[in-house]
């Protein structure tokens, strides 16, 4: 094909570095965000060292500069300001540079054009620009560790006034770089969102009606709308805070008649849709993988779409539940409690439909399926623990304790990250042409699932005992001293959890060259990406595909196999198809 040949004529740098091919950009986002996932994990390990063994010399701590670790004859001891930077940067990097680009940057780019039958994104150059804004933003965030005063240390939520003036923390430039980096990343996200929305609305193949789209694409579509509406609010707030820091405005500083709670309202008005930006694509991926593993149609496809849409709508009116104890009017607290309770309903609907999907299936426990089931079982826990903090009187007690830390990690690690493992393993062959190793995939899954629960389940318990978040040394509180053995247990398990991720990393790297050749459709799946070679050529489809049915026609009685590709003509039409496949217009 022309498009294919054309791609090979391009210089190496245009094909692999400044590429406009959505599949290459997806791989770029994948490598970038897996790198940041490793960085975020190492930061977590350092945080846990301090919590498990407060103010004891950290192994390898001598390698870090004196501004981070105080050198003593016995070894280097973590400084509290560095601890605060670690807590801040772990959250920031994991949320903005690992989970969000993994879900949106990787799967949005890889799946949307392939699943709707398009040759690329609507705006390929804008797509390239999106990655080349996101990546430097990430580097800028990392560089902030090396500047005078260290990296930002006011928490990933950067509550004002702590974040608004360096006089409170000694961090000036680090906080400013944090703000600038996230603003740049915001532009990258907006460019991606505009692209995804335009592509899905305009470039669906003939026959690809809205309700024939795979749920992964549906979720990414709704997520893109959330990003388009939420990121400008974050960007506005970030710029206001940057002005407070640098040019003497006082939006969030009471001394200049500013309002600290305004930051919280702006941040969480963005931040709660953001929470769903971090979980909706994971839900979509899980739905696709579960149906494939169970060899059954997704149970209640329309209900699943409606649940995604209603979560997206409700996500705009629940932000106040982060602020129950903030000094916000208690009457508002009551209002937000009711909306927050209601948003549990669409999440519950999704869980029941996932159970319905595997019910009476013919379940093939391949590695992606294991991770998808891991997602469902962990998301149940994360969803249910959310009900505790939705109840305002209970939240009085558990707010800002390790119960919240447990909750957020059950949703973002047990939820999003397991779905990411499912998705990366499932679509790996479509990116690299080979399958990841199944045996090592399973070993990694079971070790991760067990260690993950050993780390985060006990955090509920210490939270219930009143253990606050973000404290540098829990033993300073007498009533927390009896919990120290649990803190040490968690720390040891975190080290093991981080270490076993090497299995996944090695499996990922080695399989690029040594993996089993995948062919077009290794999982016997139905959606359009499995009708083309792995990896698909530049331009994806040789002929514009014609879509005859939904993406989940597994085990249909009309066909012999237990799958039915979306573009296979129905038996009655094979003789005289209603629509002739058309060559791709180039």
């Amino acid at each position: 094909m022309d498009a294919h040949a054309h791609a090979h004529e391009m210089p190496w740098i245009r094909r692999y570095v400044f590429s406009t091919d959505h599949k290459i950009i997806a791989i770029q986002f994948l490598l970038m965000s897996l790198f940041f996932l490793v960085v975020g994990g190492l930061l977590a390990a350092m945080i846990r060292w301090q919590l498990g063994f407060p103010s004891e010399p950290m192994p390898g701590g001598m390698l870090l500069p004196d501004e981070m670790m105080a050198p003593t004859p016995a070894g280097a001891i973590m400084l509290p300001e560095f601890y605060n930077s670690l807590v801040t940067m772990h959250g920031t990097i994991m949320i903005f540079f690992a989970i969000m680009p993994l879900l949106v940057g990787v799967f949005g780019n890889l799946l949307i054009p392939l699943q709707i039958g398009a040759d690329d994104m609507a705006f390929p150059r804008l797509n390239m620009a999106s990655f080349w804004m996101a990546f430097p933003a990430g580097l800028l965030m990392l560089v902030s560790f090396a500047v005078e005063g260290g990296a930002a240390g006011a928490g990933w939520t950067s509550y004002a006034p702590l974040s608004a003036s360096g006089e409170y923390t000694g961090v000036y430039l680090g906080q400013q770089l944090w703000l600038i980096s996230l603003t740049i990343l915001g532009f990258a996200s907006l460019a991606g969102a505009v692209n995804y929305i335009t592509t899905i609305i305009n470039m669906r193949a003939p026959g690809m009606t809205w309700f024939r789209m795979p749920l992964a694409t549906w979720a990414l579509f709704i997520t893109a709308i959330l990003i388009l509406l939420a990121i400008p609010i974050l960007a506005g707030a970030l710029i206001m805070l940057l002005f407070d820091q640098t040019i003497g405005t006082g939006f969030f500083l009471p001394a200049s008649d500013g309002e600290p709670l305004l930051w919280q309202h702006l941040f969480w008005f963005f931040g709660h849709p953001e929470v769903y930006i971090l979980i909706l694509p994971a839900m979509g991926i899980t739905s696709d993988v579960l149906a494939n593993g169970a060899r059954k149609p997704v149970f209640g496809y329309h209900a699943m779409v409606l649940a995604i849409v209603s979560i997206a709508f409700l996500s705009w009116i629940v932000w106040g539940h982060h602020m129950f104890q903030s000094g916000m009017n208690p009457m508002l607290g009551t209002t937000f409690m009711i909306t927050t309770m209601v948003i549990a309903v669409p999440s519950a609907i999704k869980v029941f439909n996932w159970l319905g999907t595997i019910y009476k299936g013919n379940i093939h426990l391949h590695t992606p399926m294991l991770h998808a089931l891991g997602f469902v079982s962990m998301f149940i826990i994360g969803g249910l623990s959310g009900v505790f903090m939705a109840s305002t009187p209970v939240d009085v007690y558990i707010h800002d304790t390790y119960f919240i830390v447990a909750h957020i990690h059950y949703v973002l690690f047990g939820g999003s990250l397991f779905a990411i493992f499912a998705g990366v393993t499932f679509w790996y062959p479509k990116m690299f042409g080979r399958l990841m190793n199944e045996k090592w995939g399973r070993i990694h899954f079971w070790l991760t699932l067990i260690l993950y629960n050993l780390v985060f389940w006990p955090m509920h318990s210490i939270g219930i005992q009143g253990h606050m978040r973000r404290i540098y040394d829990p033993t300073q509180y007498e009533f927390l001293q009896p919990l120290q053995p649990i803190n040490q247990f968690i720390t040891v398990c975190v080290f093991a959890l981080v270490a076993v991720q090497a299995i996944y990393a090695l499996n990922f790297i080695i399989s690029i060259w040594k993996g089993k050749k995948a062919g077009n459709n290794p999982w016997h799946a139905n959606s359009l990406e499995w009708t083309v070679p792995s990896p698909p050529p530049h331009g994806n489809f040789e002929l514009v595909p014609i879509v005859y049915r939904g993406p989940y026609e597994y085990s249909a009685p009309d066909v012999e196999e237990d799958y039915w590709l979306q573009d296979t003509p129905p038996p009655s039409e094979t003789a005289a198809p209603a629509l002739e496949p058309q060559p791709v217009a180039d």
Binding site: E81, N84, Y168, P254, K296, R469, Q476
Partner: protein
């Protein structure tokens, strides 16, 4: 490792703990049922050669049931939470006979101001302590919570009290302790480098003991020039 709350020693305790255990039971039952079904389905419907999955697309009846039931359950949980929330946080719920206090948070200490013998804060006989708060048992206290610099969060775990202190705002916090003793005060909001050190103690006295303490402190105050001398450390 326990899911039981530590014992509470304030009038808020029964409300908060009741709601917590109701939610623990409701979510616990849902947790066990859904996870058990998940595991059961995976085992029962595991892949077998020659077997084909049952071709079902869904069930409207099931969708209606599992939309309606959670909807009723979560709304019920919300509505039973409202009265307790109003009692704890609505400034109108503070009992009329509550003792007035001012708690002023700053990096990295709690400055507590007592009304003294005249029962009014902001007068000459006010008493002040740092990081140690004295209150009488079975007596409501009405705290005006302030901050001088950044956000802090006034956390009394056993009293089931938590409230952020916000610079520029006077926030009403009240509670009534139900047993004499010493209880921790914590800061629950990241407030800077030494956030972790911002702890304190809440001393709950029998009424007579508390009155005696106030009297002794007021007498001291007459002699002392420097307010810092009254730090009851």
């Amino acid at each position: 490792m326990s899911w039981l709350l530590p014992e509470s020693f304030s009038t808020f305790g029964p409300d908060v703990d009741f709601l917590y255990y109701v939610i623990l039971w409701v979510t616990g039952v849902v947790f066990v049922i859904t996870e058990a079904l998940l595991v059961y389905f995976v085992i029962r419907y595991r892949r077998r050669e020659g077997q084909k999955a049952t071709y079902i697309h869904g069930s409207t009846k099931a969708e209606i049931i599992w939309t309606t039931l959670p909807f009723i359950a979560v709304l019920a949980l919300a509505f039973i939470s409202i009265p307790s929330w109003n009692m704890m946080k609505n400034p109108d719920s503070v009992p009329a006979d509550a003792l007035d206090y001012i708690v002023n948070a700053k990096q990295f200490e709690w400055e507590i101001t007592y009304a003294g013998t005249d029962g009014v804060t902001g007068t000459a006989d006010d008493i002040s302590t740092i990081n140690i708060m004295h209150v009488p048992v079975n007596q409501a206290v009405n705290i005006t919570l302030r901050s001088e610099d950044v956000l802090h969060s006034f956390f009394l775990p056993e009293m089931r009290v938590k409230q952020d202190a916000v610079p520029g705002m006077d926030i009403t916090v009240w509670f009534e302790a139900t047993a004499a003793g010493a209880y921790p005060i914590g800061c629950a909001e990241l407030c800077g480098n030494l956030h972790t050190t911002m702890g304190g103690t809440l001393n709950v006295y029998e009424a007579a003991e508390f009155d005696a303490w106030v009297a002794s402190q007021s007498a001291d105050a007459d002699d002392a020039d420097d307010a810092d001398d009254q730090e009851d450390q």
